[in-house]
Protein backbone atom coordinates (compact mmCIF):
# COMPACT_ATOMS: atom_id res chain seq x y z
CA UNK A 1 0.00 0.00 0.00
CA UNK A 2 2.76 2.39 0.98
CA UNK A 3 4.75 1.69 -2.19
CA UNK A 4 1.81 2.45 -4.41
CA UNK A 5 1.80 6.02 -3.12
CA UNK A 6 5.32 6.74 -4.32
CA UNK A 7 4.55 7.21 -8.05
CA UNK A 8 1.68 9.47 -7.08
CA UNK A 9 4.01 11.67 -5.03
CA UNK A 10 6.48 11.85 -7.92
CA UNK A 11 3.66 12.74 -10.32
CA UNK A 12 2.49 15.51 -7.98
CA UNK A 13 5.99 16.90 -7.93
CA UNK A 14 6.13 17.01 -11.71
CA UNK A 15 2.64 18.46 -11.94
CA UNK A 16 3.57 21.34 -9.68
CA UNK A 17 6.33 22.59 -11.99
CA UNK A 18 4.04 24.24 -14.58
CA UNK A 19 2.27 25.99 -11.73
CA UNK A 20 5.53 27.60 -10.65
CA UNK A 21 6.22 28.57 -14.26
CA UNK A 22 2.76 30.08 -14.57
CA UNK A 23 3.29 32.13 -11.45
CA UNK A 24 6.34 33.71 -13.08
CA UNK A 25 4.38 35.00 -16.09
CA UNK A 26 3.33 38.68 -15.96
CA UNK A 27 0.39 39.51 -13.75
CA UNK A 28 -2.80 40.34 -15.64
CA UNK A 29 -5.98 42.01 -14.46
CA UNK A 30 -9.50 41.10 -15.49
CA UNK A 31 -12.39 43.55 -15.85
CA UNK A 32 -14.95 43.38 -13.07
CA UNK A 33 -18.68 43.89 -13.14
CA UNK A 34 -20.57 43.24 -9.92
CA UNK A 35 -23.64 44.34 -8.02
CA UNK A 36 -23.43 45.77 -4.55
CA UNK A 37 -26.29 44.82 -2.24
CA UNK A 38 -28.57 47.51 -0.87
CA UNK A 39 -30.51 47.56 2.36
CA UNK A 40 -34.24 48.07 2.62
CA UNK A 41 -34.05 48.53 6.38
CA UNK A 42 -35.99 51.56 7.62
CA UNK A 43 -35.73 53.32 10.97
CA UNK A 44 -38.21 51.83 13.47
CA UNK A 45 -41.63 53.50 13.51
CA UNK A 46 -42.13 56.36 15.90
CA UNK A 47 -42.44 60.14 16.02
CA UNK A 48 -40.02 61.51 13.44
CA UNK A 49 -39.32 58.18 11.71
CA UNK A 50 -40.69 59.45 8.38
CA UNK A 51 -38.48 62.51 8.67
CA UNK A 52 -35.32 60.52 9.32
CA UNK A 53 -36.16 57.94 6.65
CA UNK A 54 -36.75 60.66 4.07
CA UNK A 55 -33.67 62.71 4.91
CA UNK A 56 -30.95 60.25 5.80
CA UNK A 57 -31.29 57.10 3.72
CA UNK A 58 -30.25 58.70 0.43
CA UNK A 59 -26.60 58.78 1.47
CA UNK A 60 -26.37 55.78 3.82
CA UNK A 61 -28.34 52.78 4.96
CA UNK A 62 -29.83 52.74 8.46
CA UNK A 63 -27.64 49.95 9.82
CA UNK A 64 -24.71 51.96 11.11
CA UNK A 65 -27.01 54.41 12.90
CA UNK A 66 -28.83 51.51 14.57
CA UNK A 67 -25.44 50.09 15.61
CA UNK A 68 -24.52 53.28 17.48
CA UNK A 69 -24.27 53.27 21.27
CA UNK A 70 -26.49 55.44 23.43
CA UNK A 71 -25.39 59.06 22.96
CA UNK A 72 -26.47 62.33 24.57
CA UNK A 73 -28.87 64.64 22.76
CA UNK A 74 -25.96 67.02 22.34
CA UNK A 75 -23.88 64.30 20.66
CA UNK A 76 -26.76 63.41 18.33
CA UNK A 77 -27.23 67.07 17.44
CA UNK A 78 -23.53 67.30 16.63
CA UNK A 79 -23.80 64.26 14.34
CA UNK A 80 -26.75 65.70 12.45
CA UNK A 81 -24.99 69.07 12.15
CA UNK A 82 -21.87 67.33 10.82
CA UNK A 83 -23.94 65.55 8.17
CA UNK A 84 -25.37 68.90 7.06
CA UNK A 85 -22.30 71.13 7.29
CA UNK A 86 -19.42 68.80 6.43
CA UNK A 87 -21.19 66.27 4.21
CA UNK A 88 -23.77 68.63 2.67
CA UNK A 89 -26.80 66.52 3.53
CA UNK A 90 -29.77 68.49 2.17
CA UNK A 91 -31.82 68.48 5.36
CA UNK A 92 -34.44 71.23 5.70
CA UNK A 93 -33.95 73.29 8.84
CA UNK A 94 -37.40 72.34 10.17
CA UNK A 95 -36.43 68.65 9.97
CA UNK A 96 -33.29 68.95 12.11
CA UNK A 97 -35.15 69.10 15.44
CA UNK A 98 -37.38 66.07 14.76
CA UNK A 99 -34.36 64.00 13.57
CA UNK A 100 -32.36 64.83 16.71
CA UNK A 101 -35.40 64.07 18.88
CA UNK A 102 -35.96 60.77 17.09
CA UNK A 103 -32.32 59.68 17.54
CA UNK A 104 -32.28 60.76 21.17
CA UNK A 105 -35.49 58.83 21.76
CA UNK A 106 -34.14 55.74 20.03
CA UNK A 107 -30.57 55.87 21.31
CA UNK A 108 -30.35 58.55 23.97
CA UNK A 109 -27.87 58.26 26.81
CA UNK A 110 -29.65 57.18 29.98
Amino acid sequence: MFRSFLPAIILLGVASIPFVARAATPFELKSVKVDLPDSDKMFPDGPGSDTINNNCLACHSAGMVLNQPALSKQAWAAEVTKMINAYKAPVASEDVGPIVEYLTGLKGAK
Binding site: P26, V32, L36, P37, C59, Q68, P69, A75
Partner: protein
Protein backbone atom coordinates in the same frame (compact mmCIF):
# COMPACT_ATOMS: atom_id res chain seq x y z
CA UNK B 1 -16.84 40.73 -21.92
CA UNK B 2 -16.03 37.05 -21.82
CA UNK B 3 -14.40 37.62 -18.45
CA UNK B 4 -17.46 39.43 -17.15
CA UNK B 5 -19.63 36.49 -18.11
CA UNK B 6 -17.26 34.09 -16.38
CA UNK B 7 -17.30 36.21 -13.25
CA UNK B 8 -21.06 36.39 -13.36
CA UNK B 9 -21.22 32.60 -13.39
CA UNK B 10 -18.91 32.39 -10.41
CA UNK B 11 -21.03 34.86 -8.49
CA UNK B 12 -24.26 33.17 -9.46
CA UNK B 13 -22.87 29.85 -8.36
CA UNK B 14 -21.72 31.34 -5.08
CA UNK B 15 -25.18 32.81 -4.50
CA UNK B 16 -26.79 29.46 -5.24
CA UNK B 17 -24.44 27.73 -2.85
CA UNK B 18 -25.27 30.34 -0.26
CA UNK B 19 -28.96 29.71 -0.65
CA UNK B 20 -28.41 25.97 -0.48
CA UNK B 21 -26.45 26.45 2.72
CA UNK B 22 -29.25 28.44 4.27
CA UNK B 23 -31.81 25.85 3.29
CA UNK B 24 -29.67 23.04 4.67
CA UNK B 25 -29.25 24.77 8.00
CA UNK B 26 -32.90 25.72 8.16
CA UNK B 27 -33.81 22.03 8.21
CA UNK B 28 -31.84 21.40 11.36
CA UNK B 29 -32.38 24.79 13.00
CA UNK B 30 -36.00 25.92 12.73
CA UNK B 31 -36.47 29.66 12.66
CA UNK B 32 -32.91 30.22 11.51
CA UNK B 33 -32.99 33.33 9.40
CA UNK B 34 -29.52 34.82 9.35
CA UNK B 35 -26.25 34.22 11.08
CA UNK B 36 -25.57 36.70 13.83
CA UNK B 37 -22.52 37.49 15.92
CA UNK B 38 -22.17 39.40 19.18
CA UNK B 39 -19.35 41.92 19.42
CA UNK B 40 -18.53 42.50 23.10
CA UNK B 41 -18.89 46.30 22.95
CA UNK B 42 -19.48 47.96 26.32
CA UNK B 43 -23.09 49.09 26.60
CA UNK B 44 -23.93 47.52 23.23
CA UNK B 45 -25.56 47.11 20.87
CA UNK B 46 -23.61 43.90 20.36
CA UNK B 47 -25.52 42.02 17.68
CA UNK B 48 -24.33 42.17 14.09
CA UNK B 49 -25.36 40.20 11.03
CA UNK B 50 -22.85 38.01 9.22
CA UNK B 51 -23.31 38.77 5.54
CA UNK B 52 -22.27 36.88 2.43
CA UNK B 53 -24.10 39.29 0.12
CA UNK B 54 -21.09 41.26 -1.06
CA UNK B 55 -19.42 40.38 -4.37
CA UNK B 56 -16.03 38.64 -4.19
CA UNK B 57 -16.37 38.47 -0.38
CA UNK B 58 -16.91 35.61 2.03
CA UNK B 59 -18.64 35.88 5.42
CA UNK B 60 -18.20 39.37 6.87
CA UNK B 61 -19.58 41.24 9.86
CA UNK B 62 -22.09 43.76 8.53
CA UNK B 63 -21.55 47.19 10.07
CA UNK B 64 -23.27 49.09 7.26
CA UNK B 65 -24.63 48.04 3.88
CA UNK B 66 -24.29 51.34 1.98
CA UNK B 67 -21.65 52.62 1.71
CA UNK B 68 -20.17 49.28 2.78
CA UNK B 69 -18.54 48.81 6.16
CA UNK B 70 -17.61 45.15 6.57
CA UNK B 71 -15.55 43.80 9.45
CA UNK B 72 -13.31 40.74 9.35
CA UNK B 73 -14.57 38.04 11.76
CA UNK B 74 -11.76 37.76 14.30
CA UNK B 75 -11.23 34.01 13.94
CA UNK B 76 -9.90 34.69 10.43
CA UNK B 77 -6.73 36.10 11.99
CA UNK B 78 -5.94 32.67 13.48
CA UNK B 79 -5.68 31.12 10.02
CA UNK B 80 -2.36 32.63 9.00
CA UNK B 81 -0.20 35.69 8.64
CA UNK B 82 -2.01 36.99 5.54
CA UNK B 83 -5.67 37.94 5.70
CA UNK B 84 -7.61 36.34 2.83
CA UNK B 85 -8.88 38.85 0.26
CA UNK B 86 -12.43 37.57 0.53
CA UNK B 87 -12.49 38.32 4.26
CA UNK B 88 -10.39 41.47 4.28
CA UNK B 89 -12.32 44.31 5.94
CA UNK B 90 -14.03 46.97 3.84
CA UNK B 91 -14.63 50.64 4.56
CA UNK B 92 -16.08 53.25 2.16
CA UNK B 93 -16.97 56.88 2.76
CA UNK B 94 -19.36 57.63 -0.11
CA UNK B 95 -22.12 55.54 -1.64
CA UNK B 96 -21.44 56.14 -5.33
CA UNK B 97 -18.96 53.36 -6.07
CA UNK B 98 -18.40 52.14 -9.64
CA UNK B 99 -19.36 48.48 -9.99
CA UNK B 100 -18.30 48.00 -13.60
CA UNK B 101 -14.61 48.56 -14.23
CA UNK B 102 -13.21 47.86 -17.67
CA UNK B 103 -9.47 47.39 -17.43
CA UNK B 104 -9.04 48.63 -21.00
CA UNK B 105 -10.65 51.97 -20.21
CA UNK B 106 -9.37 52.70 -16.70
CA UNK B 107 -6.63 55.29 -16.43
CA UNK B 108 -4.58 56.91 -13.67
CA UNK B 109 -3.88 60.62 -14.09
CA UNK B 110 -0.78 62.28 -12.66
CA UNK B 111 -1.06 66.05 -12.81
CA UNK B 112 -0.46 69.31 -10.98
CA UNK B 113 3.00 70.57 -10.17
CA UNK B 114 4.74 68.24 -12.63
CA UNK B 115 6.66 68.67 -15.89
CA UNK B 116 4.31 66.44 -17.83
CA UNK B 117 0.74 65.38 -17.11
CA UNK B 118 0.37 61.62 -17.43
CA UNK B 119 -2.56 59.39 -18.21
CA UNK B 120 -1.41 55.87 -17.44
CA UNK B 121 -3.30 52.79 -18.55
CA UNK B 122 -3.29 49.67 -16.41
CA UNK B 123 -1.04 48.16 -19.04
CA UNK B 124 1.42 51.06 -18.59
CA UNK B 125 1.45 50.40 -14.87
CA UNK B 126 1.63 46.60 -14.91
CA UNK B 127 4.18 46.33 -17.72
CA UNK B 128 5.90 49.70 -17.96
CA UNK B 129 7.29 50.06 -14.45
CA UNK B 130 9.30 47.82 -12.10
CA UNK B 131 7.05 45.70 -9.92
CA UNK B 132 7.58 45.58 -6.16
CA UNK B 133 6.11 43.50 -3.35
CA UNK B 134 5.58 44.35 0.28
CA UNK B 135 3.73 42.81 3.18
CA UNK B 136 1.84 45.48 5.13
CA UNK B 137 -0.99 45.88 7.60
CA UNK B 138 -3.93 47.97 6.50
CA UNK B 139 -5.77 49.17 9.59
CA UNK B 140 -8.67 51.58 9.86
CA UNK B 141 -7.93 54.65 12.01
CA UNK B 142 -11.00 53.71 14.03
CA UNK B 143 -10.32 49.99 14.38
CA UNK B 144 -11.62 48.92 17.85
CA UNK B 145 -13.62 52.16 18.23
CA UNK B 146 -16.47 50.18 19.78
CA UNK B 147 -14.31 49.54 22.86
CA UNK B 148 -13.85 53.24 23.67
CA UNK B 149 -15.30 54.28 27.03
CA UNK B 150 -17.14 56.58 27.09
CA UNK B 151 -18.40 55.37 23.75
CA UNK B 152 -18.03 57.61 20.70
CA UNK B 153 -20.03 57.80 17.46
CA UNK B 154 -18.66 56.27 14.25
CA UNK B 155 -18.21 52.82 12.78
CA UNK B 156 -18.61 50.63 15.86
CA UNK B 157 -15.86 48.17 15.03
CA UNK B 158 -14.50 45.49 17.27
CA UNK B 159 -10.89 44.52 16.42
CA UNK B 160 -11.50 43.35 12.85
CA UNK B 161 -11.04 46.58 10.88
CA UNK B 162 -7.53 45.51 9.95
CA UNK B 163 -5.78 43.01 7.75
CA UNK B 164 -2.38 42.04 6.43
CA UNK B 165 -1.67 41.38 2.78
CA UNK B 166 1.22 40.89 0.42
CA UNK B 167 0.81 43.88 -1.90
CA UNK B 168 2.17 43.86 -5.45
CA UNK B 169 2.43 47.02 -7.46
CA UNK B 170 4.70 49.85 -8.49
CA UNK B 171 6.52 52.47 -6.47
CA UNK B 172 4.72 55.79 -6.27
CA UNK B 173 8.17 57.36 -6.63
CA UNK B 174 8.61 55.78 -10.07
CA UNK B 175 5.24 57.11 -11.20
CA UNK B 176 6.03 60.60 -9.90
CA UNK B 177 9.47 60.53 -11.52
CA UNK B 178 7.85 59.65 -14.84
CA UNK B 179 5.77 62.82 -14.60
CA UNK B 180 8.71 64.83 -13.24
CA UNK B 181 7.93 66.61 -9.99
CA UNK B 182 8.73 70.32 -10.24
CA UNK B 183 10.72 72.03 -7.53
CA UNK B 184 8.50 73.63 -4.92
CA UNK B 185 6.16 70.63 -4.66
CA UNK B 186 5.05 70.14 -1.04
CA UNK B 187 2.35 67.46 -1.03
CA UNK B 188 0.77 64.86 -3.25
CA UNK B 189 -3.01 64.40 -3.19
CA UNK B 190 -4.78 61.16 -4.04
CA UNK B 191 -8.35 60.63 -5.21
CA UNK B 192 -10.26 57.53 -6.21
CA UNK B 193 -13.42 56.81 -8.19
CA UNK B 194 -15.89 56.94 -5.29
CA UNK B 195 -18.21 59.93 -5.35
CA UNK B 196 -20.60 61.50 -2.87
CA UNK B 197 -24.33 61.18 -3.44
CA UNK B 198 -24.73 64.92 -2.92
CA UNK B 199 -22.92 66.80 -5.67
CA UNK B 200 -21.33 69.55 -3.57
CA UNK B 201 -20.13 67.25 -0.79
CA UNK B 202 -16.34 66.90 -0.49
CA UNK B 203 -14.79 64.20 -2.67
CA UNK B 204 -12.69 61.79 -0.64
CA UNK B 205 -9.05 62.84 -1.06
CA UNK B 206 -5.95 62.33 1.08
CA UNK B 207 -2.49 63.85 0.87
CA UNK B 208 1.03 62.89 1.82
CA UNK B 209 4.06 65.15 2.11
CA UNK B 210 6.20 65.08 -1.01
CA UNK B 211 9.19 63.42 0.71
CA UNK B 212 6.93 60.69 2.10
CA UNK B 213 5.34 60.16 -1.31
CA UNK B 214 8.80 59.76 -2.84
CA UNK B 215 10.31 57.53 -0.16
CA UNK B 216 10.27 54.46 -2.39
CA UNK B 217 8.03 52.51 0.01
CA UNK B 218 4.66 54.08 -0.75
CA UNK B 219 3.27 52.07 -3.63
CA UNK B 220 0.36 51.74 -6.00
CA UNK B 221 -0.87 48.17 -5.64
CA UNK B 222 -2.66 46.19 -8.33
CA UNK B 223 -2.61 42.89 -6.43
CA UNK B 224 -3.08 41.70 -2.88
CA UNK B 225 -2.04 38.22 -1.86
CA UNK B 226 -1.23 37.43 -5.48
CA UNK B 227 -4.66 38.26 -6.89
CA UNK B 228 -6.35 41.38 -8.17
CA UNK B 229 -8.09 43.35 -5.44
CA UNK B 230 -11.76 42.63 -4.76
CA UNK B 231 -13.76 45.58 -6.08
CA UNK B 232 -14.78 46.66 -2.60
CA UNK B 233 -11.14 46.62 -1.50
CA UNK B 234 -10.22 49.12 -4.21
CA UNK B 235 -9.88 47.37 -7.58
CA UNK B 236 -7.99 48.03 -9.77
CA UNK B 237 -5.44 50.24 -7.97
CA UNK B 238 -4.99 51.11 -4.33
CA UNK B 239 -2.42 53.32 -2.67
CA UNK B 240 -0.37 51.42 -0.09
CA UNK B 241 1.19 53.58 2.63
CA UNK B 242 3.19 51.15 4.78
CA UNK B 243 3.01 51.87 8.49
CA UNK B 244 0.28 54.51 8.14
CA UNK B 245 -3.42 54.21 8.88
CA UNK B 246 -5.68 53.03 6.08
CA UNK B 247 -7.33 56.40 5.54
CA UNK B 248 -4.34 57.19 3.32
CA UNK B 249 -4.65 53.96 1.34
CA UNK B 250 -6.96 55.49 -1.30
CA UNK B 251 -9.04 52.86 -3.10
CA UNK B 252 -9.81 52.80 -6.85
CA UNK B 253 -7.00 55.34 -7.19
CA UNK B 254 -7.33 57.24 -10.46
CA UNK B 255 -6.02 60.73 -9.75
CA UNK B 256 -2.69 61.92 -8.34
CA UNK B 257 -2.15 65.65 -8.01
CA UNK B 258 1.18 67.14 -7.02
CA UNK B 259 0.55 70.28 -4.96
CA UNK B 260 2.79 73.30 -4.48
CA UNK B 261 0.94 74.33 -1.34
CA UNK B 262 -0.39 72.30 1.61
CA UNK B 263 -3.66 70.47 1.01
CA UNK B 264 -6.58 72.11 2.79
CA UNK B 265 -9.31 69.72 1.65
CA UNK B 266 -11.76 68.53 4.31
CA UNK B 267 -10.55 64.92 4.46
CA UNK B 268 -6.94 65.91 5.13
CA UNK B 269 -7.35 69.09 7.18
CA UNK B 270 -10.51 68.47 9.23
CA UNK B 271 -11.52 64.81 9.18
CA UNK B 272 -9.12 62.14 10.42
CA UNK B 273 -7.34 64.45 12.83
CA UNK B 274 -6.09 63.41 16.27
CA UNK B 275 -5.12 65.32 19.40
CA UNK B 276 -1.43 66.23 19.25
CA UNK B 277 -0.85 64.49 22.61
CA UNK B 278 0.79 61.22 23.75
CA UNK B 279 -1.30 58.29 22.40
CA UNK B 280 -3.60 60.89 20.77
CA UNK B 281 -5.36 60.81 24.11
CA UNK B 282 -7.37 63.49 25.91
CA UNK B 283 -9.91 63.54 28.73
CA UNK B 284 -13.53 63.25 27.60
CA UNK B 285 -14.88 66.77 27.26
CA UNK B 286 -11.44 68.41 27.04
CA UNK B 287 -11.44 71.28 24.54
CA UNK B 288 -8.96 73.62 22.85
CA UNK B 289 -6.68 70.75 21.92
CA UNK B 290 -4.30 71.09 18.99
CA UNK B 291 -5.34 68.62 16.31
CA UNK B 292 -3.07 67.11 13.63
CA UNK B 293 -3.72 64.68 10.76
CA UNK B 294 -3.59 61.04 11.88
CA UNK B 295 -0.41 59.42 10.62
CA UNK B 296 1.80 56.53 11.75
CA UNK B 297 0.39 53.39 13.30
CA UNK B 298 1.30 52.14 16.75
CA UNK B 299 2.05 48.59 17.96
CA UNK B 300 -0.67 46.05 18.72
CA UNK B 301 -0.91 42.35 19.56
CA UNK B 302 -3.79 39.91 19.83
CA UNK B 303 -4.41 36.34 20.91
CA UNK B 304 -6.14 34.56 18.03
CA UNK B 305 -6.65 30.97 19.21
CA UNK B 306 -8.47 31.51 22.52
CA UNK B 307 -11.46 33.80 22.96
CA UNK B 308 -12.24 35.55 26.21
CA UNK B 309 -14.30 33.36 28.54
CA UNK B 310 -12.87 30.09 27.24
CA UNK B 311 -11.83 27.19 29.46
CA UNK B 312 -8.38 25.65 29.42
CA UNK B 313 -7.02 22.64 31.28
CA UNK B 314 -5.29 23.43 34.55
CA UNK B 315 -1.97 21.67 35.12
CA UNK B 316 -1.62 20.91 31.40
CA UNK B 317 0.22 22.98 28.81
CA UNK B 318 -1.89 25.56 27.00
CA UNK B 319 -0.80 26.78 23.59
CA UNK B 320 -1.30 30.45 22.96
CA UNK B 321 -0.81 32.04 19.58
CA UNK B 322 -1.62 35.26 17.88
CA UNK B 323 -0.63 38.18 15.71
CA UNK B 324 1.30 41.36 16.38
CA UNK B 325 2.45 44.33 14.39
CA UNK B 326 4.83 47.12 15.21
CA UNK B 327 2.86 49.90 13.54
CA UNK B 328 5.37 52.03 11.63
CA UNK B 329 8.24 49.54 12.14
CA UNK B 330 8.84 45.89 12.95
CA UNK B 331 8.02 43.82 16.02
CA UNK B 332 10.83 43.52 18.56
CA UNK B 333 8.99 41.34 21.05
CA UNK B 334 5.61 40.07 22.18
CA UNK B 335 5.26 39.52 25.90
CA UNK B 336 2.41 37.94 27.80
CA UNK B 337 1.31 37.87 31.39
CA UNK B 338 -0.94 35.40 33.19
CA UNK B 339 -1.03 37.40 36.44
CA UNK B 340 -2.53 40.73 35.34
CA UNK B 341 0.79 42.25 34.42
CA UNK B 342 2.92 41.50 37.50
CA UNK B 343 5.21 39.22 35.54
CA UNK B 344 5.82 39.15 31.81
CA UNK B 345 7.27 36.38 29.68
CA UNK B 346 8.41 36.52 26.09
CA UNK B 347 6.52 34.68 23.38
CA UNK B 348 8.28 33.12 20.42
CA UNK B 349 8.10 35.13 17.19
CA UNK B 350 7.47 33.29 13.95
CA UNK B 351 8.92 34.09 10.52
CA UNK B 352 9.42 37.77 9.72
CA UNK B 353 7.41 38.48 6.56
CA UNK B 354 8.40 42.15 6.49
CA UNK B 355 8.45 44.89 9.08
CA UNK B 356 5.10 46.41 8.14
CA UNK B 357 3.15 43.15 8.24
CA UNK B 358 1.61 40.94 10.88
CA UNK B 359 4.07 38.82 12.83
CA UNK B 360 2.77 35.52 14.11
CA UNK B 361 3.79 34.53 17.64
CA UNK B 362 3.15 31.62 19.93
CA UNK B 363 3.96 30.26 23.33
CA UNK B 364 3.03 27.55 25.81
CA UNK B 365 2.28 27.93 29.47
CA UNK B 366 0.77 25.89 32.26
CA UNK B 367 -1.67 27.32 34.78
CA UNK B 368 -0.80 25.54 38.00
CA UNK B 369 -4.18 25.68 39.67
CA UNK B 370 -7.84 25.95 38.66
CA UNK B 371 -9.38 29.41 38.71
CA UNK B 372 -9.94 32.55 36.70
CA UNK B 373 -7.02 34.20 34.98
CA UNK B 374 -6.60 37.42 33.02
CA UNK B 375 -4.16 37.03 30.20
CA UNK B 376 -2.42 40.09 28.77
CA UNK B 377 -0.38 40.51 25.57
CA UNK B 378 1.93 43.39 24.78
CA UNK B 379 3.90 44.16 21.64
CA UNK B 380 7.06 46.24 21.74
CA UNK B 381 8.15 47.50 18.34
CA UNK B 382 11.66 47.85 16.97
CA UNK B 383 11.66 51.55 17.85
CA UNK B 384 11.17 50.52 21.50
CA UNK B 385 7.55 51.65 21.64
CA UNK B 386 5.31 49.30 23.66
CA UNK B 387 1.54 49.08 23.89
CA UNK B 388 0.31 51.19 26.83
CA UNK B 389 -1.49 49.50 29.73
CA UNK B 390 -4.26 52.10 29.87
CA UNK B 391 -6.60 52.80 26.95
CA UNK B 392 -6.40 56.09 25.09
CA UNK B 393 -9.48 58.24 24.45
CA UNK B 394 -10.32 60.82 21.81
CA UNK B 395 -13.68 61.91 20.37
CA UNK B 396 -13.17 60.21 17.01
CA UNK B 397 -12.23 56.82 18.48
CA UNK B 398 -8.85 56.64 16.73
CA UNK B 399 -5.61 54.77 17.41
CA UNK B 400 -6.66 52.34 20.12
CA UNK B 401 -3.68 50.15 21.01
CA UNK B 402 -3.99 49.35 24.70
CA UNK B 403 -2.53 46.04 25.97
CA UNK B 404 -5.22 43.47 25.15
CA UNK B 405 -6.63 41.23 27.83
CA UNK B 406 -8.70 38.06 27.76
CA UNK B 407 -10.28 36.21 30.65
CA UNK B 408 -9.77 32.46 30.78
CA UNK B 409 -10.90 29.81 33.19
CA UNK B 410 -8.58 26.96 34.15
CA UNK B 411 -10.46 23.85 35.22
Amino acid sequence: MVENVALHHVLTRRRLLGVAGVAGLALSKPGWAQTMIDLPLPGGPEARQITTAFPQKGPMILQRTRPPLLETPFEVFDKGVFTPNDQFYVRWHWAVIPTDIDIGKFSLTVRGHVNQTLSLSLNDILHGLPSVQLSAVNQCSGNSRGFFQPRVPGGEWANGAMGNALWTGVRLKDVLDKAGVKSGAVQVRFKGLEEPVVADAPHFMKSLDIDHARDGEVMIAYAMNGEQLPLVNGFPLRLVVPGWYATYWVKMLNDIEVLNEPDTNYWTKVAYTIPDTPHASIKPGETNVKMVPINRMVPRSFVTNIASGHRVNAAAPTTLRGIAFGGDCGVASVDYSIDRGQNWRQAQLEKDEGKYGFRLWQTQFTLSSPGKYTLLTRCTNSNGVAQPDTPNWNPAGFMRNVVESIDIIAA
